[in-house]
């Protein structure tokens, strides 16, 4: 285990010198963003689009449904293109199934359930969720392990009734699940914070590498949450500035109406430009929301999904550890029984062997999680570098474009103002 980690870090160091471009080339195959290639090629591919959100049902019962289009050349799929109708809770179903089955893998995060009724059916919210769901399902489709999942096939292919049955069944069986999940989550949180505070508990994984990772993830979430908060605020600021510009433009136009002649015209032109720029700002606010703020939030969600996996790992470790303890006790007991040549030796031996098998399985399961996590962390870092890079690029591009538009708009006024002032003298 430790040896593996050691090797892994060596491998990483050797990669440090790698150029960005080579990483980027790697990314093309890993990225789960919606910009993933959709054109058929000789390589195996699986590409999904979540489109056409439509409001169904009435009142409290109403919900948004999406058209989920799958294009693939994978033989295990029914054909090159399949269209199904899915709703948000279907995506939850898929997520939860994968989470149960693929311990140790960071399941791509889902967008939050939005509880605020007011925004539930706003165009912006619907579009944001659509985009997030698209990214979610494509990340699964591109994940080397999750891609193979039967649940994904089910989700992408079965008709709506079968899907609904599966979903209601699931919620029936796993009724208690969310609460359990929360409990585990809380446990992990308290354990981690205990670990941070130095109050180490015996049933806690305590190797320095993992401690470091835990601290990293927790602090990362905090820092990212802050950045994300500012990003959303920046969106709001763009909207506000847009609104202010529009109001300012109107006021300036009215003021210009008091002036008459060329000066009045200059005022009214300034007002018109302000109003025009207001629209640009609103557009950029939307762009910023979709392509910068939301991806940052997705980043935060991804970190949270790592935390969920860490909770699973803690459970697996605890289970494995407790079994090992029990096996030790049983072994001592068995030795005692063998010493006194008890009749119960046979029975105890069977129990011991069974436990030993169970313990080995638990250890294997735990080690599997550890191994998967180590792979996943690399994937996560690379993917996030890519995603954030794209988001940064979009931010920079959008801001540059907006600033250029602002500069152009105002610049176009200058000759008119010059003319006006020369006419005056």
């Amino acid at each position: 285990m430790f040896l593996y980690l050691f090797w892994f870090s060596w491998w990483l160091n050797s990669r440090t010198e790698m150029q960005l471009d080579s990483l980027l080339l790697q990314q093309t195959s890993l990225s789960g963003s919606s910009q993933s290639p959709r054109s058929p090629s000789t390589q195996p591919f699986l590409s999904v689009s979540v489109t056409d959100p439509a409001k169904l049902g009435n009142g409290v019962q109403s919900y948004i449904s999406y058209r989920v289009i799958t294009r693939t050349n994978l033989p295990e799929y029914q054909g090159p293109e399949k269209i199904v109708i899915r709703r948000y809770s279907d995506f939850i179903w898929l997520h939860d199934r994968l989470f149960e089955k693929y311990k140790g893998i960071f399941i791509p995060p889902l967008p939050e359930k939005n509880a605020v009724e007011k925004f539930r059916f706003s165009a912006e919210f619907i579009e944001m969720r659509r985009q997030a769901l698209d990214i979610f399902v494509n990340r699964i489709a591109l994940h080397p392990q999750l891609q193979q999942s039967e649940d994904l096939k089910t989700f992408l292919q079965v008709d709506e009734e079968t899907m609904e049955r599966a979903r209601s069944q699931e919620t029936g069986i796993f009724k208690k699940k969310p609460a359990d999940f929360m409990q585990i989550f809380k446990d992990v949180q308290s354990k981690v914070s205990d670990a941070v505070l130095g109050k180490e508990k015996p049933v806690e994984e305590s190797n320095p590498e993992y401690e470091k990772l835990k601290n990293y993830i927790f602090e990362l979430e905090e820092d990212l949450a802050e950045a994300q908060k500012h990003a959303f605020r920046l969106v709001k600021r763009h909207k506000e500035l847009g609104q202010s510009l529009s109001d300012f433009g109107k006021a300036i136009k009215l003021l210009g109406a008091c002036e008459g002649n060329s000066l009045g015209k200059a005022f009214s032109e300034l007002g018109s430009k302000s109003e025009m720029l207001s629209i640009k700002l609103q557009k950029e606010a939307h762009n910023l929301l979709m392509k910068f703020a939301e991806p940052l939030k997705d980043y935060v969600r991804a970190v949270q999904s790592i935390k969920a996996t860490m909770a699973e790992r803690a459970t697996a470790f605890k289970h494995q550890y407790e079994l090992a303890e029990t096996i030790k006790l049983k072994e001592i007991n068995l030795d005692k029984l063998m010493l006194i040549r008890s009749d119960k030796v046979g029975e105890a031996e069977i129990e011991y062997r069974e436990l030993k098998v169970e313990g080995e399985e638990a250890t294997k399961k735990y080690e599997m999680i550890v191994q998967l996590m180590n792979e996943e962390i690399v994937r996560f870092q690379e993917q996030k570098t890519w995603d954030v890079g794209v988001a940064f690029h979009e931010l920079a591009k959008g801001q540059a474009q907006l600033a250029n538009e602002i500069a152009d708009a105002w610049r176009s006024l200058l000759p008119k103002l010059e003319a006006c002032s020369s006419a005056q003298t």
């Binding site: 990483l12 440090t16 010198e17 790698m18 960005l20 980027l24 093309t28 990225s31 910009q35 602090e219 990362l220 820092d223 802050e226 500012h230 990003a231 605020r233 920046l234 600021r237 506000e240 500035l241 609104q243 202010s244 109001d247 300012f248 109107k250 006021a251 300036i252 009215l254 003021l255 008091c258 002036e259 000066l263 200059a266 005022f267 300034l270 690399v378 870092q381 690379e382 570098t385 954030v388 890079g389 940064f392 690029h393 931010l395 920079a396 591009k397 801001q399 540059a400 474009q401 907006l402 600033a403 250029n404 602002i406 500069a407 105002w410 610049r411 006024l413 200058l414 103002l417 002032s421």
Partner: protein, 651 residues
């Protein structure tokens, strides 16, 4: 955020690579440092220099951009380069080389001494005319009130050092400093508003009685200092007021301000001012000072006049009685109405400008916070980096953080400029107050004229009535005199008759002696004699009664003559009053015409200057926006270029 600052202090040294530090030194303290300083600081940066706290300070401690900068006097002086970051970016600099130099000197516009773009009204007048007055208010000092109050330490006040530099010949010198207190400024403002009625006199700063109690003393004094400087500068920018005796005295005369602080009852009495109300009430007035009429009635002093004028204005409002002189200047009325609309739009625009500035400030601030959040993340990722991908991400983040913080700084600088330019709107809003008071000067002068006119007409009708009444009395007298004359004539006739009768009696007595012997005639003679005597006696008694009657009549008529004389005197006095009032009226009319003229001139001036100011405001605003938008675009374009690798896939 402050917590982060502390953290930043401890962790800054962890950046071992100088290159990293360079690009993370995103913000120098802005005050007094130009970007060339910034660059030199960059090249000689040491480990001890903490790169992360200044941006926070820069953002948090930044002055409220809505407060106009207090040091604008210095900024107008091209020799002063400290505040170069507040200088407007040169148009040529910005527009013709928008992307700056390659070596990251995009923000090196401190070199620009190109000062053509000015928006402030203050600077406009100063530069447009050859004569300039520069006024600085500084060095507030607390002083003890020298009063006869028995309580020591009760009253303190603050004096300010007012320094004037000018080349206007009327001032007869180039530099003065005086110490004045706020009360002196109030006096100056009062005197100016008396002497320059109808002019758009810049409004005096508020007394802010409440604020002076509530606000922190130092803050209040500083706020007042700034307001005073602004006020005096505005006064000095006014083409007429800057040459006024009052301002000159205020700025030049050392020691106590020689302007009369108040025109109180006593001094107005000496000036003959109090005679006005008496005069208006038609009381005897020998000396008149009609020039006093032109001043608007003052509360508490010219109470009677105020009542009169109030009555007049009520009568005007009621419309029942048409005032003798109405505002007939149609052009003026139109302009006034237009100005009202203008004011409304101006206040709206100024409000919107304020919220625009606020929004710009907010977006800049948030951009800065986003940048700081990414700086924090960059640091964090760099420290924790286990994988190469993390390092690449950290490098990307650093670029974005740098651009965001730079953009934030541009937003802030741009905003400082925007505030300066859009402040013209505020200035004009303030000016509207002056316009209002000039207009109210005009209408109060009109009211005075109206009051005097109606007063005059009532006085005249009163005089007429009196004359009519007294002429009636004269008529009655004449008949009485005639009666007396008749009586006298009767007396005279009766007297004649009496003397005739006496003569007859004497003659009869003589004849009696001649005819002594005639016995026959004796009897009849005796009876004649007694009858003649009777006649004499009757006549005598009649005479005396007539005389007493004539005497009585004479007494009576002399009484009547005396009354008439006083009545005539009264009429003459009334006529005098009318004359005085007429004088006052013509004086008031002249004053009204003068104010009208001033109004018209000032309106023209306002129009002319407004055009100029608004144009330069628009130009300044637009150029500023263009300049900074280009800088911001430049920053982000660089980042977009650097991150363009991420679009390979989608393109």
């Amino acid at each position: 955020m402050m917590g982060f600052e502390n953290q930043g202090f401890e962790e800054a040294h962890l950046f071992s690579s100088r290159q990293e530090i360079q690009s993370l030194v995103l913000d120098e303290p802005l005050d007094g440092k130009s970007f060339s300083d910034y660059r030199s600081a960059m090249s000689s940066i040491s480990e001890a220099h903490h790169p992360l706290s200044p941006p926070i300070v820069g953002i948090e401690v930044d002055d409220d951009p809505l407060l106009s900068p207090s040091s604008y006097m210095d900024r107008r002086n091209p020799n002063v380069s400290e505040n170069s970051y507040l200088e407007p970016p040169s148009y040529a600099d910005v527009v013709f080389s928008p992307f700056g130099n390659e070596n990251g000197e995009a923000n090196g516009f401190e070199n620009s001494t190109h000062d053509s773009v000015k928006s402030e009204i203050i600077s406009r007048s100063a530069s447009s005319s050859s004569g300039y007055i520069k006024i600085a208010v500084s060095n507030p000092v607390k002083e003890q009130e020298i009063s006869n109050s028995l309580v020591p330490g009760g009253n303190t006040y603050v004096t300010y050092l007012i320094t004037t530099r000018t080349n206007i010949p009327e001032f007869g010198g180039s530099e003065y400093s005086v110490r004045r207190r706020f009360k002196d400024v109030v006096t100056l403002a009062d005197r100016l508003s008396e002497s320059y009625r109808g002019f758009f006199i810049p409004p005096r700063p508020d007394k802010n009685v409440v604020e002076s109690q509530v606000m922190h003393k130092q803050e209040f004094v500083e706020q007042r200092r700034v307001a005073l400087e602004k006020y005096l500068t505005r006064l000095a920018a006014h083409p007429v007021i800057k040459k006024s005796e009052e301002l000159k005295v205020f700025l030049q005369v050392q020691g106590k301000l020689p302007l009369p602080t108040t025109t109180d009852v006593a001094s107005r009495m000496l000036d003959g001012a109090v005679k006005l109300p008496k005069q208006l009430f038609g009381e005897p007035a020998t000396v008149v000072a009609p020039h006093e009429v032109v001043q608007p009635a003052k509360g508490g002093r010219d109470l009677l006049r105020i009542f009169k004028e109030l009555k007049q204005s009520v009568a005007n409002d009621w419309g029942g009685s048409k005032p003798p002189v109405v505002e007939e200047d149609k052009e003026f009325l139109e302009k006034k109405e237009k100005l009202q609309v203008f004011e409304q739009q101006l206040s709206n625009a100024s409000q919107q400008a304020e919220s625009l500035v606020k929004a710009q400030q907010d977006i800049g601030e948030t951009m800065g916070q986003l940048g700081l959040a990414f700086i924090k993340l960059t640091k964090f990722e760099t420290e924790e980096a286990m994988y190469n991908s993390q390092r690449i991400r950290a490098a990307d983040m650093k670029r974005v953080a740098t651009a965001a913080v730079k953009a934030s700084r541009f937003y802030r600088e741009s905003n400082a400029q925007t505030v300066k330019y859009l402040d013209t709107l505020h200035e004009y809003l303030g000016l509207m107050l002056a316009v209002h008071s000039a207009f109210s000067d005009r209408s109060s002068a009109l009211l005075t004229v109206q009051t005097l006119l109606s007063e005059l007409s009532s006085l005249q009708s009163r005089a007429e009535k009196l004359e009519v009444a007294s002429s009636k009395i004269f008529g009655g007298d004449r008949s009485r005199i005639r009666k007396i004359e008749e009586l006298k004539e009767t007396i005279r006739v009766t007297e004649d008759a009496k003397s005739c009768a006496v003569r007859e009696y004497e003659r009869i007595k003589d004849t009696l002696h001649e005819y002594l012997g005639l016995m026959l005639a004796v009897h009849s003679a005796f009876s004649d004699r007694s009858s003649a005597l009777l006649t004499v006696q009757t006549l005598l008694s009649e005479l005396s009664s007539l005389q007493s009657r004539a005497e009585k009549l004479e007494v009576a008529s002399s009484k009547i003559f005396g009354g008439d004389r006083s009545r005539i005197r009264k009429i003459e006095e009334l006529k005098e009053t009318i004359r005085v009032t007429e004088d006052a009226k013509s004086c008031a009319v002249r004053e009204y015409e003068r104010i009208k003229e001033n109004n018209r001139n000032e309106l023209e001036r306002l129009e002319r200057e407004r055009r100029h100011d608004f144009l330069s405001m628009l130009k300044g605003f637009v150029i500023n926006q263009v300049g900074y938008a280009e800088k911001i675009a430049n920053e982000w374009a660089n980042v977009a270029e650097e991150t363009s690798g991420y679009t390979k896939e989608s393109s």
